[in-house]
C-alpha cells in the first residue's frame, strides 16, 4: 500500500469514526411521549394512622419497665396501609393499597404513578383512606382539569391541605 493510499485510508477511517460519533450523538430522534396526549402524575408521601390505638399503661406494667422507659402511653409503631383511588371522568383509573414503608412498617406510605391521558377537559375524583376505618374515605376531592396536549399535571396530597393540583 503506497504512503498516499495509507494517508487516504487513515483519513477515511477517522472521518467514519467521527461521523458515527456525531450521528449517534443526537440521532435518530426518539418519541418519548405520544402526540396529542397529556401526562398526569400522582404522587405523595403520607403516613396513615397507627394500626393500633395508643393505650394507657397500668401501674403494674409501668413498674416492670426500666425507669427510663416508663412512658404512660403504649403506642405500637406500625401504621395502617392507605387505600387510594382515582376515577377519571367517572371511570376507575387507579386503585391501590399503599403499605407503610420501613422495616417496622412505621414509615409513611408512598405513591408515584404516571398516566398518559387524551388532551381535553377531565374530571378527577380522588379518594384516600388513612385511618383504621374499614369503609369509606377520610379525604375526598373532585378536580376539574383542562389538559393541554403535552402538558404535565401533578396531583399531590398533604395532610393539612388535602389534594392539590400542581
Amino acid at each position: 500500500m503506497t504512503r498516499m493510499l495509507r494517508y487516504v485510508g487513515q483519513a477515511a477511517v477517522l472521518a467514519a469514526f467521527v461521523a458515527v460519533v456525531g450521528y449517534f450523538s443526537g440521532n435518530p430522534s426518539f418519541r418519548h411521549f405520544p402526540e396529542g396526549e397529556a401526562l398526569l402524575k400522582v404522587s405523595f408521601t403520607h403516613g396513615g394512622d397507627r394500626k393500633v390505638e395508643c393505650r394507657k399503661r397500668t401501674r403494674e406494667e409501668l413498674a416492670e419497665l426500666a425507669a427510663n422507659m416508663r412512658t404512660t402511653l403504649d403506642c405500637p409503631r406500625e401504621r395502617v396501609e392507605l387505600r387510594f383511588e382515582i376515577d377519571l371522568d367517572g371511570v376507575p383509573l387507579y386503585q391501590a393499597l399503599l403499605p407503610p414503608t420501613g422495616l417496622a412498617g412505621d414509615g409513611p406510605s408512598r405513591v408515584y404513578e404516571r398516566f398518559a391521558l387524551p388532551a381535553g377537559p377531565h374530571v378527577l375524583d380522588l379518594r384516600l383512606r388513612d385511618s383504621r376505618r374499614s369503609e369509606g374515605f377520610d379525604h375526598v376531592a373532585r378536580k376539574a382539569v383542562e389538559f393541554a396536549a403535552g402538558q404535565s399535571v401533578a396531583v399531590d396530597f398533604r395532610g393539612g391541605e388535602g389534594f392539590r393540583i400542581r
Partner: protein
C-alpha cells in the same frame, strides 16, 4: 471457544490486519483501544474544566450559561462543550470495542480475570458520568433523563420518598439540586479514574497513551466534528410540560427507551443479569488453565530478567531462601501467571548448549519445558544443512499450514518464550540454514510484549540478546494473524530462498547429530529427523 467467539475472532483478526496495513501496527487504533480511551477521558476532563468556568448552577442559570457558551462564545467555550460531548461519546465507542475485542481473543480468563472484572464498574461509571452530565444542561433532554432515571431508581425499595418527586412540578425543584448534580458530575469521573488505575494494576507496562500521531489525528477529527456539528441543547426544561421528541445521545442513553417499553423491574433485572454475566465470564466454561511457570532455585541466580519481562507482573524478586550466594530469587505468583513462557525466554540459564546436568533453567513452564523443546528440535535436525526452522506462536498461524520439505516447525506458547541461545543452537549445532520466528501480528501479541521482547533480544537491545557470532541474516521474524497462513508461507519461502543463496553453513558431523538423536530417543521421541 464459544460460538460468539468463533464469529467475532476471525472478524477482529481481519479488521486488525486491515487497520495495521492502513495505520501501521504501532498506530493501529484497534491495538490502542485502551490508550485511546484514556486519551478521550483526558479530553473530556480538560474540556469539562473549561466549561465549568462558565457554568452556573441554578434552574434557569444552568440552561442560560450553557446557551451562552454555545451561542455567544461558540468559538471557544462552544467548541469545548462539543469536544466534551464528542470525546465522551468516542470514549464509549472505544470502551465497547475494547471489551468485545478482548472477549473475541479470549483475553479475559485465568490471571486476566482482574482486569476484566475491574472493567465492569468502569463501564457503569462511564455511563453514570455521561448521564449526570446530561442533567446539568437542564433542557428537555435533561428533564427526560432526570425523570426517567429517578423513576427507575425509585423502583428499588430503598428510598423513603420517591426521588422522582423532585421533578413533579415546576415548584418542586430548587437551585441546590444543581449543586448536588455538579458534585456528582465531578465525583463520578474521579471515581472512574480510580477504577481505571485499579484496572491496570496487574498489567506490566500498560499503554495508557496512544502514539502521538494517532492521538493528534483523533483529536483533530473530534475538533473538526465539533466545528462542523457543534453540540446544541434542546428547549429549556419545563416541568409543566412533557418532553415528547428527543434527540438522544445513543451512546449514553441508548437503553432509556427500554424504560418506556418495559416495566422498571424488568429493566433492573435485565441490567443486573447482563452486568453479572459480563462480570462472571472469566469463571464460565470452557475452563482451561495451563500450568503456571515454576522456578528452579538450583538454576536461578536472581538476575530479575524474568520479573522485568513478565507482561503481567506475576514474578517478584524476593530474599534468597536457599542459602546460595545470591541476594534474591524469583517467585511466581500463580494467580497472576498466564503461562506465556516469556520468563523462560528471558532466563540466562536457559541454554541448550549446557553439557553438565539436565537442561533445567531457572524458570520455565512445566507443560512446555526447554528440554522438551531441545529434544523436538534435535529430532528435526537435518544433516543436509539446508533446513529452515520455523518457531511458531501457538496463537498465530497453525503449524500444519507450513508443512513442506525443507521446513521444520516447532510451536511455542509465545515466540517470546524462545531463549535466543536456541537460535544459536539451531544454526551451529542442528545444521539449520536459518531460523524464522513467526509470532502474533505486530502490536497484537496474545500475551502482550512477547513480540516486543523478541525483536529487542534479536537486535541485542535487551538481555538475553542474540550472540554476536550468530549470523543475523540467517534469522528473521514476522508477525501474522492466525488467518494469514499464505502470507506467512510467502514470507518463509522468501527467507528460504535468501538463506539458500548464502554461503553454506558448517554442518554438524554425523557423530554429533547421532549423539543428539540418541538423547532424543532416550527422552521418548521417535528420533527420526
Amino acid at each position: 471457544m464459544t460460538a460468539l467467539q468463533r464469529v467475532l475472532r476471525p472478524a477482529f483478526r481481519r479488521l486488525d490486519d486491515w487497520a495495521s496495513r492502513v495505520f501501521g501496527a504501532a498506530w493501529n487504533p484497534l491495538h490502542n483501544l485502551g490508550a485511546l480511551g484514556f486519551f478521550f477521558y483526558w479530553i473530556v476532563a480538560v474540556s469539562g474544566i473549561y466549561v465549568y468556568v462558565f457554568f452556573d448552577t441554578g434552574i434557569t442559570e444552568a440552561y442560560d450559561s450553557v446557551a451562552y457558551m454555545t451561542e455567544d462564545q461558540w468559538y471557544l467555550a462552544g467548541v469545548m462543550r462539543s469536544l466534551h460531548r464528542y470525546a465522551g461519546d468516542a470514549l464509549v465507542v472505544v470502551m465497547v470495542l475494547h471489551l468485545v475485542r478482548e472477549f473475541a481473543y479470549d483475553r479475559f480468563r485465568g490471571a486476566r480475570w482482574f482486569s476484566w472484572l475491574t472493567g465492569v464498574p468502569i463501564i457503569l461509571l462511564v455511563l453514570a458520568s455521561g448521564i449526570t452530565g446530561y442533567w446539568l444542561v437542564w433542557d428537555q433532554l435533561a428533564q427526560y433523563v432526570a425523570t426517567a432515571t429517578t423513576e427507575w431508581l425509585d423502583w428499588l425499595p430503598i428510598f423513603g420518598e420517591p426521588i422522582a418527586r423532585n421533578f413533579l412540578a415546576p415548584d418542586a425543584l430548587d437551585d441546590r439540586f444543581f449543586t448536588l448534580l455538579v458534585f456528582l458530575h465531578i465525583a463520578v469521573p474521579l471515581l472512574l479514574l480510580l477504577a481505571l488505575w485499579l484496572h491496570l494494576q496487574r498489567v506490566s507496562r500498560p499503554r495508557i497513551n496512544p502514539p502521538r500521531g494517532l492521538a493528534a489525528a483523533s483529536f483533530a477529527a473530534l475538533l473538526a466534528l465539533s466545528l462542523v456539528v457543534p453540540a446544541t441543547s434542546h428547549a429549556p426544561a419545563d416541568l409543566a410540560k412533557v418532553p415528547t421528541v428527543l434527540d438522544l445521545d445513543w451512546f449514553y442513553l441508548g437503553l432509556y427507551p427500554l424504560l418506556d417499553l418495559w416495566s422498571h423491574g424488568t429493566v433492573w433485572v435485565t441490567a443486573a443479569v447482563l452486568t453479572l454475566t459480563i462480570a462472571a465470564m472469566p469463571w464460565l466454561p470452557p475452563f482451561r488453565r495451563p500450568a503456571v511457570a515454576q522456578v528452579d532455585l538450583d538454576n536461578c541466580n536472581g538476575c530479575a530478567r524474568c520479573a522485568e519481562d513478565c507482561p503481567f507482573n506475576a514474578i517478584s524478586m524476593e530474599r534468597r531462601t536457599d542459602g546460595k550466594p545470591f541476594d534474591r530469587e524469583a517467585v511466581v505468583k500463580g494467580s497472576l501467571c498466564v503461562s506465556c513462557g516469556i520468563c523462560a525466554g528471558s532466563c540466562p540459564t536457559a541454554t541448550p548448549f549446557r553439557r553438565a546436568g539436565a537442561l533445567v533453567p531457572g524458570i520455565e513452564l512445566p507443560d512446555s519445558t526447554l528440554v522438551d523443546l531441545r529434544d523436538r528440535l534435535d529430532r528435526m535436525a537435518d544433516a543436509a544443512g539446508q533446513q529452515v526452522y520455523v518457531i511458531a506462536c501457538a496463537h498465530g498461524v497453525r503449524p500444519e499450514a507450513l508443512r513442506r520439505p525443507g521446513l521444520a516447525v516447532a510451536e511455542l506458547p509465545c515466540v517470546g518464550a524462545l531463549p535466543p541461545s536456541f537460535i544459536d543452537y539451531l544454526l551451529s549445532r542442528c545444521g539449520a540454514a536459518g531460523v524464522y520466528l513467526a509470532g502474533c501480528a505486530e502490536g497484537n501479541c496474545h500475551f502482550r510484549l512477547g513480540d516486543t521482547w523478541t525483536e529487542a533480544r534479536l537486535d541485542r537491545r535487551r538481555d538475553p540478546g542474540l550472540r554476536k557470532r550468530v549470523p543475523r541474516e540467517r534469522v528473521r521474524s514476522g508477525g501474522f494473524e492466525a488467518h494469514q497462513a499464505s502470507r506467512l508461507r510467502q514470507s518463509v519461502e522468501a527467507f528460504l530462498q535468501d538463506v539458500r543463496g548464502l554461503p553454506p553453513q558448517e554442518v554438524p558431523s554425523a557423530r554429533q547429530l547421532g549423539a543428539r538423536l540418541g538423547r532424543a530417543r532416550e527422552a521418548g521421541g521417535t528420533g527420526s529427523p
